[in-house]
Every structure is written in structure tokens, then in C-alpha cells.
């Protein structure tokens, strides 16, 4: 394997595996005493970006793992676009985190970015699984590093959910490999149980309804800089793999529509503004999932370009809220307000992000989201289109208006604050420029898309209908605020699905364990009496042709081990 790598890298010096660039960057951060950390932080994504842009289309890196041939670089339009996106996100996140002195944060962030790139460029299930797990572990550290008790617990829950997602992916992959004999992930044709297991694993990372609660649970607990990294990669890797393996899967249309709808209600009543953004992220992912489910060229273009724009504008919004948290130490809507005079730059940049996520004409969301809505209508999914339109109005309401309004305007909380350091402002400006460029001149982004784009966003009908939707939503907000009907920001917790494993199962589980313990004790007592008398007939199960002496297939054994691991994980999570 090492020889494979060495000969490949020596053979063509610029065709480096994108993941490797970041892993080397992480190693430099960890071990280099002479190179300053900010230099490595900027240089790594830059070198990675040049490497990717100059990479030959035919670049392939095959190597061997566990007697399977695995492919670590697979380039086509889809992986290339996500590759470019992840490098851009890594660059602005790294600039944002430039002044953080804790090297461990940078190291785990780079391993995280590298693993996301590894997953995007891997062409087989085996390497995808490995990067999938590395993604989980490295990102959990970004939550852990905050150091508070709440963050520690949230990180543990986050890791728990993602390791389970990995195990389910492994189980699905094993079933698929066993059935087809192929480990390839590109143009994969999934069927039966393997298909549903892999969809479930992807769905957990993508925030499907009911499986979503790790997202609003953990992201608001990470450090201000950590959340910026987190928001860019995990869920977009999930979108990428769905776009690879589940194009045109109809159930995704309904799942996606549900994802666009339910989080907006939570976002309206949530007080923690970073949690509002986390809910809003599920809402945006929903649009992409609908696009993938529709599977037409227009819908796929919409889903993929929206993933690109979402990483940038959501990054910008998380950065602006991070700046507020960083300078004031507060992030609840009930504690904030009136900051626009003290943080004018942050306010303006946040408004650009808010306009982009709301899909205002001339801002990035407009040129991508509208493709998904148009595709839904073109394909005759009128009810879904109605829901998506509702969610579009909703997202403007909670992310477009609520976030800037409660942080920077509303009642003046009289907080002492100022705009953050130059590097944070630079990172936000970088993201804001991309939002505006993609909004005003979408053809650069369109040229990177996998299908030819037959869509002109700036037509009278599109612009007027979108402006009507948004401005009348703003009117509703204004009337609701003026009439005092709008729900005030309250210090509170809103129950979500995570209640089941944070409260429900634990109380149910400890009672069940007590009952189980008592019952087994009684049973063992009876068993011992019976066994003493009738032990002999059991012996033959252990003999040559007995149940316990049979050989089991490797895949069955591995499935058993995975089940055991899962059971252990659940037990560990609940009773430690």
C-alpha cells in the first residue's frame, strides 16, 4: 500500500489525494515547531485547491486494502464540484479560526476536512466507510473541545449517533458486497436490505426526520469556530453520497419535503440563535433531498448548486453568530439586540447571508433553490411544491428576518461589543462575496454542474413571484411584531426527538433493566435445577455436528459482531 502511494505520488507530483493534503497539514500543525500555525492553516487549503484544479481528469489512485482493490481518487463533475466547495469552505473556516491558539482544534478540523474530501473522492464502499467513521470522530472533537459539561455530553451523543450510522453503513455494505461481489460505489445499484440500510446510514448524517436531532443538539454546543467547520462538511457529504447512490428514489421527495417543513416551526420558537441556524440547516437540506429524489437534470442541478450555496451562506451566518457569541458571550435571542451600532460590519455581512438563504434575487440562494421548486412543479408534484413554497416563506421568516432582527435590532440589550478581529471579518467577507457573485452571475457555478443548465433565474416571472413571496412574508412578520402576536424569545428548551434517548429510554430503560434482572435471576435458578438433571442431552450441541460447532460464513459473523457492537454502544450510552 505504501509503495503504491509512493510510486503514484512520485509519478505525478500534483495528483495528490485531496484527503492526504489535509492530513499532512494536520501533521505539520501537530509536529512542526518552526512553521507558524496560521501559515499552515492558510497554505493547506490553498495547496489543496491548486492540487484539485490541476488534477488530471484521468487521475486514479488504486491501492489494496483487506485484499480488495480500493480507489482513493475518483474524479467526475460531481466529486470535483464538492471537492472545490470543501476547499473553499476549509479556507474561509481556517481564516475564521486563524487566531485560535489551541492547536488540537486545528488538527481535528483538518482531519475532519480531509475525511470529508476522502469520502467524496473514494470510489468504493470500503474507503467510504473508513472516511465516514473518521469524519465522525474528528468532528466530535470539535464539540468536545468547548469543555463545558453540556458540550461534553452533546459530543458523546453526537459520536454515538454517528458511530451507529457508520455501523449501519458497514452492515449494508457487507450485505451488498456479499450479494454482488463488488465493492464499487460509483454507479452502484443497490437493492433489498442493503439499499435500505445504506439509505438509513446516509439519512442519519443527512438529518432525515426523526434521525435529525443530533444536529440541533450538538452544533450549538461547539466552539464558535468549530461550528463553522461542522456546518460545512458532515451533512454535505451525506448529500453527495445520496446524489451518487439514490438519484430518483421517490421516497426522498417525501422525506425531503418533511425536512423542509418541520424545522421551521422549531426555528420560530427557538431562543438559541445557533440552534435556529441548525434547524434552518435541516430545512435547506430538505430542498436538496427533494431535488435528489426528483432526479431530473434540473432537479439534480438545483440540489447540487444549492448544496454549494448553502455551505457558503450557512457558513457566513454561523460565522456572524459566532462573532456575536465570541464578543458578547451570549447567543440567546432573549439576551441580544441592538448590536448593529456596535457591530456594523458583522450586521451587514449577516444580512448578506440572510438574504442569500432567503433566496432574494441577486443573492446565491435564489439561483439554486428556484431550480428545485421549478423541477417539482414540472414533474407534477404540486402538493410537494406547495410545501416547498411554504418552507421558502418560512426560511425567510426565521433565518432571513429573525436572526438579524433579534441579534442586531429588536430591543437594545445594551451589551458591550465591537466587530470581531480582522481575520473573522475577512472570512465573512470572503463568504459574502461568493454569495453575491453566485447570485448576480450564476453561470460560473452553473458551468461546474454535472448536467447542462437550461434555466434562466432572472426572468420577470421568477423574480416577481419570489419578491412577492418574500416581501409579503416580511409584511406578515412586521404586522405580527407590531400587534404583539409574535412569540417572544424565551429562555427555554423545546423538546425534540432527542428527548427519547436523553430522557425517555433512560427512565424506561432503568425500569426495564430492573425487571429483566429479577426475571433472569428467577429463570437462572429454575434453569440450574433443570440443567443438573438433564445436562447430558445438551452435550451433543457442542459435538462435531452440533449447533455450536458449525462454521459460519464471514459475512454472518461480521453482522453478528456489528449487532453486538451496536448493543454494547447502546448499553454504554444509556448506563454510563
Amino acid at each position: 500500500m505504501i509503495i503504491d502511494f509512493a510510486s503514484y505520488i512520485i509519478g505525478s507530483p500534483w495528483n495528490l489525494p485531496p484527503a492526504l493534503v489535509f492530513y499532512v497539514g494536520a501533521a505539520f500543525l501537530l509536529f512542526s515547531k518552526y512553521l507558524p500555525a496560521p501559515l499552515i492553516l492558510i497554505a493547506t487549503p490553498t495547496v489543496g485547491l491548486i492540487n484539485l484544479i490541476t488534477m488530471e481528469n484521468s487521475a486514479r489512485l488504486n491501492t489494496e486494502l483487506l485484499s480488495y482493490s480500493v480507489e482513493l481518487i475518483y474524479i467526475d463533475e460531481l466529486s470535483f464540484l464538492f471537492g472545490i466547495l470543501f476547499h473553499i469552505a476549509a479556507l474561509f473556516s481556517a481564516i475564521y479560526a486563524l487566531k485560535i491558539t489551541d492547536t488540537r482544534q486545528h488538527v481535528s478540523a483538518f482531519i475532519y476536512v480531509g475525511s470529508a474530501l476522502g469520502a467524496v473522492f473514494s470510489a468504493d464502499l470500503l474507503s467510504l466507510f473508513i472516511f465516514w467513521e473518521l469524519l465522525a470522530i474528528s468532528s466530535a472533537y470539535l464539540i468536545w473541545v468547548q469543555g463545558t459539561r453540556k458540550a461534553n455530553q452533546a459530543a458523546l451523543r453526537y459520536l454515538f449517533v454517528h458511530v451507529i450510522s457508520g455501523l449501519i453503513l458497514l452492515a449494508g455494505a457487507i450485505l451488498h458486497i456479499h450479494k454482488t461481489g463488488s465493492i464499487g460505489f460509483i454507479d452502484i445499484d443497490l437493492t433489498g436490505t442493503a439499499k435500505w440500510l445504506i439509505l438509513l446510514a446516509f439519512g442519519i448524517k443527512c438529518g432525515f426526520p426523526i434521525l435529525h436531532s443530533w444536529l440541533p443538539d450538538s452544533y450549538p454546543q461547539a466552539s464558535p469556530t468549530g461550528t463553522v467547520f461542522l456546518s460545512a462538511f458532515t451533512t454535505k457529504v451525506a448529500i453527495y453520497v445520496l446524489a451518487r447512490a439514490f438519484v430518483g428514489t421517490e421516497v426522498l421527495i417525501y422525506i425531503g419535503a418533511a425536512m423542509t417543513m418541520f424545522p421551521i416551526f422549531y426555528a420560530v420558537i427557538e431562543n438559541d440563535l445557533r440552534r435556529v441556524l441548525a434547524y434552518s440547516m435541516i430545512n435547506q437540506l430538505g430542498f436538496m433531498v427533494v431535488g435528489i429524489g426528483l432526479g431530473t437534470a434540473m432537479a439534480m442541478n438545483g440540489a447540487i448548486s444549492h448544496a454549494f450555496n448553502d455551505v457558503v451562506f450557512k457558513g457566513l451566518l454561523f460565522m456572524s453568530m459566532g462573532a456575536v457569541l465570541h464578543t458578547t458571550g451570549r447567543i440567546n435571542g432573549s439576551d441580544l439586540g441592538g448590536l448593529y451600532r456596535k457591530m456594523p460590519m458583522t450586521t451587514s455581512l449577516c444580512i448578506i447571508g440572510a438574504a442569500s438563504i432567503s433566496a432574494f434575487p441577486l443573492f446565491s440562494g435564489f439561483v439554486s433553490k428556484s431550480m428545485i421548486l421549478t423541477a417539482a412543479l414540472d414533474e407534477g408534484y404540486v402538493a410537494i411544491w406547495f410545501l416547498l413554497l411554504f418552507a421558502s416563506a418560512g426560511v425567510f421568516h426565521h433565518a432571513g428576518i429573525k436572526i438579524p432582527y433579534f441579534a442586531f435590532f429588536a430591543h437594545d440589550a445594551g451589551l458591550d461589543a465591537k466587530d470581531p478581529s480582522w481575520n473573522m471579518l475577512l472570512a465573512m467577507t470572503f463568504a459574502a462575496v461568493i454569495c453575491i457573485v453566485n447570485g448576480c452571475y450564476p453561470y460560473l457555478l452553473y458551468s461546474l454542474l454535472p448536467y447542462p443548465v437550461d434555466y434562466r433565474p432572472y426572468e420577470w416571472s421568477h423574480v416577481v413571484s419570489q419578491l412577492q413571496l418574500l416581501l409579503f412574508s416580511a409584511l406578515a412578520f412586521a404586522w405580527l411584531i407590531r400587534s404583539g402576536t409574535y412569540p417572544p424569545e424565551l429562555r427555554s428548551v423545546n423538546l425534540d426527538v432527542d428527548w427519547i434517548y436523553r430522557r425517555g429510554i433512560k427512565s424506561f430503560g432503568s425500569n426495564a433493566l430492573l425487571v429483566f434482572d429479577r426475571t433472569t435471576r428467577h429463570l437462572m435458578f429454575i434453569f440450574r435445577i433443570v440443567a443438573d438433571h438433564r445436562l447430558n442431552p445438551l452435550v451433543h450441541h457442542l459435538k462435531q455436528h452440533g449447533v455450536f460447532a458449525r462454521t459460519w460464513s464471514i459475512s454472518f459473523t461480521v453482522l453478528c459482531i456489528i449487532t453486538l457492537l451496536l448493543a454494547y454502544l447502546v448499553h454504554f450510552f444509556l448506563y454510563t
Binding site: 420558537i269 437594545d412 412577492q468 412569540p487 428548551v493
Partner: protein, 82 residues
């Protein structure tokens, strides 16, 4: 900057102006449907001011339902800490 003076966005005059502009823009967009042709795919889009009406109703409904949701789902800030 004189911090004792209310900021520009807290002065009643500014708020009145912003609201007036918003109302005018909405009225203009609504009326534009009467004058200009808007390309439609589904017949329901032909209703004059359809997008505006839908956006307004959606937001109103969103807030009312979310307020109802609060009654069921809202707990104290330290709910999970105990």
C-alpha cells in the same frame, strides 16, 4: 457616536418609513400581476398576487402553529440538566 441617543433604527420616524416602503413595495408587486404577464406552469399560479397571498398566509400560519407548539414542547431552560 453618542450612545445616549436612540439609534436610527429605533427612531419612530425611521420605523414608519421602513413600514411605508414595505407596504408600497407589496402593493406594487401585487398590482404588477394585473399589468404584466407572469409565466405559469400550474393554473393556481394565475391568481392575481398568488405568491404574495400565499407567502403572507404561510408566515401567519407558521407563527400561530409554532406558538401552539410551544404549549406542548416548551420546558424550562435546565430541563435536561436535572
Amino acid at each position: 457616536m453618542d450612545s445616549s441617543k436612540p439609534g436610527i433604527f429605533y427612531q419612530p420616524r425611521t420605523i414608519r418609513r421602513i413600514l411605508a416602503i414595505l407596504h408600497l413595495a407589496c402593493a406594487g408587486l401585487f398590482l404588477s400581476d394585473l399589468i404584466f404577464y407572469r409565466h405559469v406552469v400550474d393554473p393556481i399560479e394565475e391568481i392575481v398576487g398568488f405568491y404574495g397571498l400565499y407567502g403572507f398566509i404561510a408566515c401567519w400560519l407558521l407563527v400561530i402553529l409554532a406558538k401552539l407548539m410551544r404549549r406542548i414542547l416548551m420546558r424550562g431552560e435546565n430541563y435536561y440538566d436535572n
